[in-house]
Protein backbone atom coordinates (compact mmCIF):
# COMPACT_ATOMS: atom_id res chain seq x y z
CA UNK A 1 0.00 0.00 0.00
CA UNK A 2 2.89 2.33 0.73
CA UNK A 3 5.00 1.38 -2.26
CA UNK A 4 6.54 4.21 -4.20
CA UNK A 5 9.18 2.81 -6.54
CA UNK A 6 11.72 5.47 -7.42
CA UNK A 7 12.80 5.85 -11.02
CA UNK A 8 16.25 7.38 -11.27
CA UNK A 9 16.50 10.13 -13.91
CA UNK A 10 18.31 9.13 -17.11
CA UNK A 11 20.86 11.54 -18.57
CA UNK A 12 19.54 11.25 -22.11
CA UNK A 13 22.07 13.60 -23.71
CA UNK A 14 25.22 12.91 -21.72
CA UNK A 15 24.85 9.22 -20.81
CA UNK A 16 27.79 8.23 -23.01
CA UNK A 17 30.16 10.39 -21.01
CA UNK A 18 29.40 8.62 -17.74
CA UNK A 19 31.29 5.38 -18.38
CA UNK A 20 34.51 4.55 -20.22
CA UNK A 21 32.93 1.72 -22.17
CA UNK A 22 30.07 3.94 -23.33
CA UNK A 23 32.49 6.63 -24.55
CA UNK A 24 34.58 4.07 -26.42
CA UNK A 25 31.39 2.76 -28.00
CA UNK A 26 30.40 6.24 -29.17
CA UNK A 27 33.83 6.79 -30.66
CA UNK A 28 33.45 3.49 -32.51
CA UNK A 29 30.10 4.62 -33.80
CA UNK A 30 31.53 8.03 -34.69
CA UNK A 31 34.11 6.41 -36.94
CA UNK A 32 31.34 5.94 -39.48
CA UNK A 33 31.19 9.72 -39.94
CA UNK A 34 34.79 9.85 -41.01
CA UNK A 35 34.46 6.74 -43.13
CA UNK A 36 31.42 8.28 -44.78
CA UNK A 37 33.40 11.47 -45.36
CA UNK A 38 36.27 9.51 -46.88
CA UNK A 39 33.87 7.66 -49.16
CA UNK A 40 32.53 11.03 -50.26
CA UNK A 41 36.08 12.21 -51.02
CA UNK A 42 36.64 9.10 -53.16
CA UNK A 43 33.36 9.60 -55.00
CA UNK A 44 34.22 13.23 -55.69
CA UNK A 45 37.58 12.01 -56.97
CA UNK A 46 35.85 9.69 -59.43
CA UNK A 47 33.60 12.53 -60.53
CA UNK A 48 36.58 14.84 -61.08
CA UNK A 49 38.34 12.05 -63.01
CA UNK A 50 35.36 11.99 -65.35
CA UNK A 51 35.50 15.74 -65.76
CA UNK A 52 38.96 15.76 -67.25
CA UNK A 53 42.61 16.35 -66.39
CA UNK A 54 42.24 19.91 -65.06
CA UNK A 55 39.49 19.04 -62.69
CA UNK A 56 41.28 15.91 -61.51
CA UNK A 57 44.57 17.76 -60.97
CA UNK A 58 42.74 20.32 -58.85
CA UNK A 59 41.24 17.48 -56.87
CA UNK A 60 44.64 15.88 -56.32
CA UNK A 61 46.09 19.22 -55.19
CA UNK A 62 43.33 19.53 -52.61
CA UNK A 63 43.82 16.00 -51.41
CA UNK A 64 47.59 16.46 -51.13
CA UNK A 65 47.39 19.77 -49.29
CA UNK A 66 48.35 19.79 -45.58
CA UNK A 67 44.69 19.92 -44.59
CA UNK A 68 43.90 17.09 -47.00
CA UNK A 69 46.78 14.98 -45.62
CA UNK A 70 45.64 15.62 -42.08
CA UNK A 71 42.13 14.55 -42.97
CA UNK A 72 43.41 11.34 -44.56
CA UNK A 73 45.59 10.47 -41.58
CA UNK A 74 42.72 10.96 -39.16
CA UNK A 75 40.33 9.07 -41.44
CA UNK A 76 42.82 6.21 -41.72
CA UNK A 77 43.18 6.04 -37.95
CA UNK A 78 39.42 5.91 -37.48
CA UNK A 79 39.03 3.35 -40.28
CA UNK A 80 41.66 1.13 -38.68
CA UNK A 81 39.91 1.40 -35.30
CA UNK A 82 36.58 0.65 -36.95
CA UNK A 83 37.99 -2.35 -38.79
CA UNK A 84 39.92 -3.86 -35.90
CA UNK A 85 37.06 -3.42 -33.44
CA UNK A 86 34.66 -5.14 -35.82
CA UNK A 87 37.16 -7.94 -36.56
CA UNK A 88 37.46 -8.52 -32.82
CA UNK A 89 33.75 -9.04 -32.37
CA UNK A 90 33.24 -11.18 -35.48
CA UNK A 91 33.52 -14.49 -33.57
CA UNK A 92 30.54 -13.38 -31.50
CA UNK A 93 28.37 -12.91 -34.54
CA UNK A 94 29.70 -15.97 -36.36
CA UNK A 95 30.44 -18.77 -33.90
CA UNK A 96 31.86 -21.89 -35.52
CA UNK A 97 31.67 -25.37 -34.07
CA UNK A 98 34.14 -27.94 -35.35
CA UNK A 99 34.58 -31.50 -34.07
CA UNK A 100 32.16 -30.91 -31.20
CA UNK A 101 33.96 -27.87 -29.86
CA UNK A 102 33.85 -24.15 -30.52
CA UNK A 103 36.53 -22.79 -32.81
CA UNK A 104 38.60 -20.38 -30.73
CA UNK A 105 37.74 -16.75 -31.45
CA UNK A 106 41.39 -15.98 -32.08
CA UNK A 107 41.42 -18.22 -35.13
CA UNK A 108 38.42 -16.49 -36.65
CA UNK A 109 39.87 -13.04 -35.97
CA UNK A 110 43.28 -14.11 -37.27
CA UNK A 111 41.69 -15.40 -40.46
CA UNK A 112 40.14 -11.95 -40.99
CA UNK A 113 43.49 -10.21 -40.62
CA UNK A 114 45.10 -12.67 -43.00
CA UNK A 115 42.31 -12.19 -45.49
CA UNK A 116 42.69 -8.42 -45.16
CA UNK A 117 46.45 -8.69 -45.75
CA UNK A 118 45.96 -10.91 -48.80
CA UNK A 119 43.37 -8.61 -50.36
CA UNK A 120 45.59 -5.60 -49.62
CA UNK A 121 48.58 -7.24 -51.32
CA UNK A 122 46.49 -8.12 -54.38
CA UNK A 123 45.19 -4.56 -54.63
CA UNK A 124 48.65 -3.09 -54.27
CA UNK A 125 49.93 -5.37 -57.02
CA UNK A 126 47.01 -4.38 -59.25
CA UNK A 127 47.75 -0.68 -58.87
CA UNK A 128 51.38 -1.41 -59.68
CA UNK A 129 52.95 -0.50 -56.35
Amino acid sequence: MSRKPFIRPVPTASWWLHQGRYTRYMIREATCILIGAYSAVLIVGLMRLGEGKVAYDAYLATVQSPAGMLFHIVALAFALYHTTSWFNVTPKAMPLVYAGKRVPGGLIIGAHYIGWAVVSVILLVLVGA
Binding site: P5, F6, I7, Y25, V89, K92, A93, M94, P95, A99
Partner: protein, 255 residues
Protein backbone atom coordinates in the same frame (compact mmCIF):
# COMPACT_ATOMS: atom_id res chain seq x y z
CA UNK B 1 37.53 -23.74 15.48
CA UNK B 2 37.13 -19.99 15.15
CA UNK B 3 40.57 -18.65 14.32
CA UNK B 4 39.30 -15.50 12.66
CA UNK B 5 41.82 -13.50 14.65
CA UNK B 6 44.50 -14.54 12.19
CA UNK B 7 42.80 -12.85 9.26
CA UNK B 8 43.85 -9.30 8.44
CA UNK B 9 41.17 -6.65 8.64
CA UNK B 10 40.93 -3.09 7.39
CA UNK B 11 38.32 -0.39 7.78
CA UNK B 12 36.41 0.27 4.59
CA UNK B 13 34.16 3.27 4.23
CA UNK B 14 31.02 2.08 2.48
CA UNK B 15 28.41 4.50 1.26
CA UNK B 16 25.12 2.94 0.30
CA UNK B 17 22.23 4.56 -1.55
CA UNK B 18 19.26 4.20 0.80
CA UNK B 19 15.59 4.70 0.04
CA UNK B 20 12.53 4.11 2.17
CA UNK B 21 9.42 4.99 0.13
CA UNK B 22 7.40 5.60 3.27
CA UNK B 23 9.69 8.31 4.60
CA UNK B 24 11.92 9.50 1.76
CA UNK B 25 11.18 11.73 -1.18
CA UNK B 26 14.24 10.46 -2.98
CA UNK B 27 17.23 8.20 -2.34
CA UNK B 28 20.23 9.46 -0.39
CA UNK B 29 23.60 8.02 0.54
CA UNK B 30 24.40 6.76 4.00
CA UNK B 31 27.96 5.97 5.04
CA UNK B 32 29.19 3.14 7.24
CA UNK B 33 32.66 2.32 8.59
CA UNK B 34 33.08 -1.43 8.31
CA UNK B 35 35.96 -3.56 9.69
CA UNK B 36 36.44 -6.02 6.81
CA UNK B 37 38.36 -9.28 6.61
CA UNK B 38 40.81 -9.48 3.73
CA UNK B 39 39.08 -12.47 2.15
CA UNK B 40 35.58 -11.04 2.27
CA UNK B 41 33.41 -10.23 -0.65
CA UNK B 42 31.28 -7.07 -0.83
CA UNK B 43 28.26 -9.08 0.31
CA UNK B 44 30.03 -10.07 3.52
CA UNK B 45 30.55 -6.39 4.30
CA UNK B 46 26.89 -5.61 3.57
CA UNK B 47 25.81 -8.52 5.80
CA UNK B 48 28.05 -7.12 8.53
CA UNK B 49 26.34 -3.75 8.24
CA UNK B 50 22.92 -5.37 8.56
CA UNK B 51 23.82 -7.67 11.45
CA UNK B 52 26.00 -5.32 13.47
CA UNK B 53 25.27 -1.71 12.52
CA UNK B 54 21.96 -1.07 10.76
CA UNK B 55 19.12 -3.63 10.74
CA UNK B 56 17.04 -1.43 8.44
CA UNK B 57 19.16 -2.08 5.34
CA UNK B 58 17.23 -4.16 2.77
CA UNK B 59 18.85 -6.17 -0.02
CA UNK B 60 18.58 -9.55 -1.71
CA UNK B 61 21.00 -12.43 -1.37
CA UNK B 62 21.04 -16.19 -0.98
CA UNK B 63 23.63 -18.59 -2.37
CA UNK B 64 26.85 -16.62 -1.85
CA UNK B 65 28.41 -18.53 -4.75
CA UNK B 66 27.36 -16.55 -7.83
CA UNK B 67 24.74 -18.98 -9.03
CA UNK B 68 21.38 -17.73 -7.74
CA UNK B 69 21.62 -14.23 -9.19
CA UNK B 70 20.01 -12.44 -6.22
CA UNK B 71 22.74 -10.09 -5.08
CA UNK B 72 23.33 -7.82 -8.04
CA UNK B 73 24.26 -4.23 -7.10
CA UNK B 74 26.23 -1.29 -8.51
CA UNK B 75 29.64 -1.33 -6.82
CA UNK B 76 31.60 1.83 -7.61
CA UNK B 77 29.38 2.33 -10.61
CA UNK B 78 29.78 -1.14 -12.06
CA UNK B 79 27.01 -3.79 -12.12
CA UNK B 80 28.38 -6.54 -9.90
CA UNK B 81 27.39 -9.69 -8.06
CA UNK B 82 28.23 -8.62 -4.53
CA UNK B 83 28.98 -12.22 -3.50
CA UNK B 84 31.64 -12.49 -6.15
CA UNK B 85 33.25 -9.08 -5.79
CA UNK B 86 36.33 -9.49 -3.64
CA UNK B 87 37.34 -6.71 -1.27
CA UNK B 88 40.98 -7.48 -2.06
CA UNK B 89 40.28 -5.92 -5.47
CA UNK B 90 38.80 -2.73 -3.99
CA UNK B 91 40.25 0.37 -2.31
CA UNK B 92 39.22 1.59 1.14
CA UNK B 93 36.09 3.28 -0.16
CA UNK B 94 33.08 1.59 -1.72
CA UNK B 95 29.98 3.11 -3.20
CA UNK B 96 27.06 0.72 -3.42
CA UNK B 97 23.81 1.45 -5.23
CA UNK B 98 20.88 -0.63 -6.44
CA UNK B 99 21.16 -2.03 -9.97
CA UNK B 100 20.83 0.71 -12.56
CA UNK B 101 17.93 0.97 -15.00
CA UNK B 102 15.38 -0.57 -12.63
CA UNK B 103 13.01 1.31 -10.33
CA UNK B 104 14.14 1.26 -6.72
CA UNK B 105 11.69 -0.52 -4.42
CA UNK B 106 13.64 -0.04 -1.21
CA UNK B 107 17.36 0.48 -0.50
CA UNK B 108 19.22 -2.00 -2.71
CA UNK B 109 16.07 -3.85 -3.80
CA UNK B 110 14.91 -3.05 -7.34
CA UNK B 111 11.60 -3.80 -9.04
CA UNK B 112 12.13 -6.85 -11.25
CA UNK B 113 8.69 -6.98 -12.86
CA UNK B 114 9.76 -5.73 -16.28
CA UNK B 115 12.54 -8.29 -16.53
CA UNK B 116 10.25 -11.17 -15.60
CA UNK B 117 7.70 -10.03 -18.17
CA UNK B 118 10.36 -9.85 -20.86
CA UNK B 119 11.67 -13.30 -19.95
CA UNK B 120 8.18 -14.75 -20.30
CA UNK B 121 7.55 -12.95 -23.58
CA UNK B 122 10.22 -14.85 -25.50
CA UNK B 123 8.59 -18.23 -24.82
CA UNK B 124 11.68 -19.68 -23.09
CA UNK B 125 10.69 -23.35 -23.20
CA UNK B 126 11.05 -26.23 -25.61
CA UNK B 127 8.52 -26.26 -28.44
CA UNK B 128 8.98 -29.87 -29.50
CA UNK B 129 9.11 -31.20 -33.03
CA UNK B 130 6.67 -33.98 -32.23
CA UNK B 131 4.96 -35.33 -29.17
CA UNK B 132 7.32 -37.70 -27.45
CA UNK B 133 6.36 -40.12 -24.72
CA UNK B 134 8.62 -41.01 -21.82
CA UNK B 135 8.85 -44.54 -23.18
CA UNK B 136 10.43 -43.14 -26.34
CA UNK B 137 13.39 -42.20 -24.15
CA UNK B 138 15.58 -39.16 -24.44
CA UNK B 139 16.37 -37.29 -27.65
CA UNK B 140 19.72 -38.06 -29.12
CA UNK B 141 21.76 -34.88 -28.90
CA UNK B 142 25.36 -35.00 -30.05
CA UNK B 143 28.03 -33.16 -28.04
CA UNK B 144 28.47 -30.83 -31.02
CA UNK B 145 24.77 -29.96 -30.95
CA UNK B 146 24.95 -29.29 -27.21
CA UNK B 147 28.05 -27.15 -27.72
CA UNK B 148 26.10 -24.85 -30.04
CA UNK B 149 23.76 -23.57 -27.35
CA UNK B 150 25.39 -24.58 -24.08
CA UNK B 151 26.94 -21.18 -23.40
CA UNK B 152 23.49 -19.55 -23.58
CA UNK B 153 22.10 -21.90 -20.95
CA UNK B 154 24.41 -20.43 -18.32
CA UNK B 155 22.43 -17.26 -17.62
CA UNK B 156 21.58 -16.94 -13.92
CA UNK B 157 19.07 -14.11 -14.50
CA UNK B 158 21.09 -11.71 -12.36
CA UNK B 159 20.15 -8.78 -14.69
CA UNK B 160 23.59 -7.16 -14.49
CA UNK B 161 23.35 -6.97 -18.28
CA UNK B 162 20.18 -4.85 -18.07
CA UNK B 163 21.95 -2.54 -15.65
CA UNK B 164 24.84 -2.16 -18.06
CA UNK B 165 22.90 -1.76 -21.30
CA UNK B 166 22.52 1.86 -22.43
CA UNK B 167 19.72 0.91 -24.82
CA UNK B 168 17.69 -0.48 -21.94
CA UNK B 169 18.53 2.66 -19.99
CA UNK B 170 17.22 4.88 -22.76
CA UNK B 171 14.33 2.70 -23.91
CA UNK B 172 12.65 0.48 -21.36
CA UNK B 173 10.71 -1.28 -24.11
CA UNK B 174 13.87 -3.08 -25.19
CA UNK B 175 13.46 -6.79 -24.58
CA UNK B 176 17.01 -6.86 -23.30
CA UNK B 177 20.13 -9.01 -23.35
CA UNK B 178 19.24 -11.90 -21.03
CA UNK B 179 15.77 -12.50 -22.48
CA UNK B 180 17.07 -12.40 -26.05
CA UNK B 181 20.00 -14.67 -25.20
CA UNK B 182 17.55 -17.13 -23.66
CA UNK B 183 15.37 -17.07 -26.76
CA UNK B 184 18.48 -17.75 -28.82
CA UNK B 185 19.37 -20.64 -26.50
CA UNK B 186 16.10 -22.32 -27.35
CA UNK B 187 16.31 -21.47 -31.03
CA UNK B 188 19.67 -23.23 -31.18
CA UNK B 189 18.60 -26.31 -29.20
CA UNK B 190 18.27 -29.25 -31.59
CA UNK B 191 15.16 -30.40 -29.73
CA UNK B 192 13.25 -27.15 -30.34
CA UNK B 193 11.28 -25.89 -33.34
CA UNK B 194 9.87 -22.75 -31.73
CA UNK B 195 11.93 -20.09 -33.53
CA UNK B 196 8.96 -18.86 -35.56
CA UNK B 197 6.82 -18.67 -32.43
CA UNK B 198 9.44 -16.41 -30.85
CA UNK B 199 9.95 -14.28 -33.93
CA UNK B 200 7.39 -11.62 -33.13
CA UNK B 201 9.13 -10.68 -29.94
CA UNK B 202 12.72 -11.50 -30.84
CA UNK B 203 13.04 -10.31 -34.42
CA UNK B 204 11.16 -7.11 -33.74
CA UNK B 205 12.09 -3.47 -33.17
CA UNK B 206 12.05 -3.67 -29.39
CA UNK B 207 13.72 -7.07 -29.78
CA UNK B 208 17.13 -7.60 -31.34
CA UNK B 209 16.87 -4.51 -33.55
CA UNK B 210 17.01 -2.16 -30.59
CA UNK B 211 20.51 -3.48 -29.89
CA UNK B 212 23.37 -1.46 -31.37
CA UNK B 213 26.06 -3.89 -30.17
CA UNK B 214 27.51 -1.73 -27.42
CA UNK B 215 28.59 -5.00 -25.81
CA UNK B 216 28.35 -3.74 -22.22
CA UNK B 217 26.10 -6.67 -21.37
CA UNK B 218 28.75 -9.22 -22.25
CA UNK B 219 31.40 -7.18 -20.42
CA UNK B 220 29.57 -7.43 -17.10
CA UNK B 221 28.11 -10.93 -17.43
CA UNK B 222 29.49 -13.01 -14.53
CA UNK B 223 29.15 -16.30 -16.41
CA UNK B 224 30.46 -15.48 -19.90
CA UNK B 225 27.06 -16.00 -21.47
CA UNK B 226 27.97 -13.27 -23.98
CA UNK B 227 24.40 -12.10 -24.66
CA UNK B 228 25.72 -9.59 -27.19
CA UNK B 229 26.82 -12.46 -29.39
CA UNK B 230 23.43 -14.12 -29.06
CA UNK B 231 21.70 -10.95 -30.21
CA UNK B 232 23.97 -10.43 -33.23
CA UNK B 233 23.49 -14.06 -34.24
CA UNK B 234 19.75 -13.64 -33.80
CA UNK B 235 19.86 -10.58 -36.07
CA UNK B 236 21.57 -12.59 -38.80
CA UNK B 237 19.13 -15.45 -38.31
CA UNK B 238 16.21 -13.03 -38.42
CA UNK B 239 17.39 -11.54 -41.71
CA UNK B 240 17.96 -14.96 -43.26
CA UNK B 241 14.51 -16.11 -42.15
CA UNK B 242 13.00 -12.98 -43.65
CA UNK B 243 14.53 -13.70 -47.05
CA UNK B 244 13.68 -17.40 -46.81
CA UNK B 245 10.07 -16.49 -46.21
CA UNK B 246 10.10 -14.83 -49.64
CA UNK B 247 11.77 -17.74 -51.35
CA UNK B 248 9.85 -20.50 -49.55
CA UNK B 249 6.61 -18.85 -48.44
CA UNK B 250 4.95 -22.14 -47.54
CA UNK B 251 7.73 -23.76 -45.51
CA UNK B 252 8.40 -23.06 -41.85
CA UNK B 253 12.10 -22.53 -42.27
CA UNK B 254 13.81 -23.17 -38.95
CA UNK B 255 17.23 -21.57 -39.07
Amino acid sequence: MNADTDIKTRIIEIEILRYNPETDIEPAFQTYEVPCHEDWVVLDAVNYIKDEIDRTLSYRWSCHMAVCGSCGMMVNGEPTLSCHSFLRDHPDKLRIEPLANFPIERDLVVVMDDFIDKLKSVKPYIVPREKRSIDDGTHTQMPAELAKFKQYTLCINCTLCYAACPQYMLNEGFVGPAALALAHRYNLDSRDVGASAREDVVASNPGVWECSFVGACSDVCPHDVDPASAIQQAKIAGVLDYFKSFLMPKGEAKQ
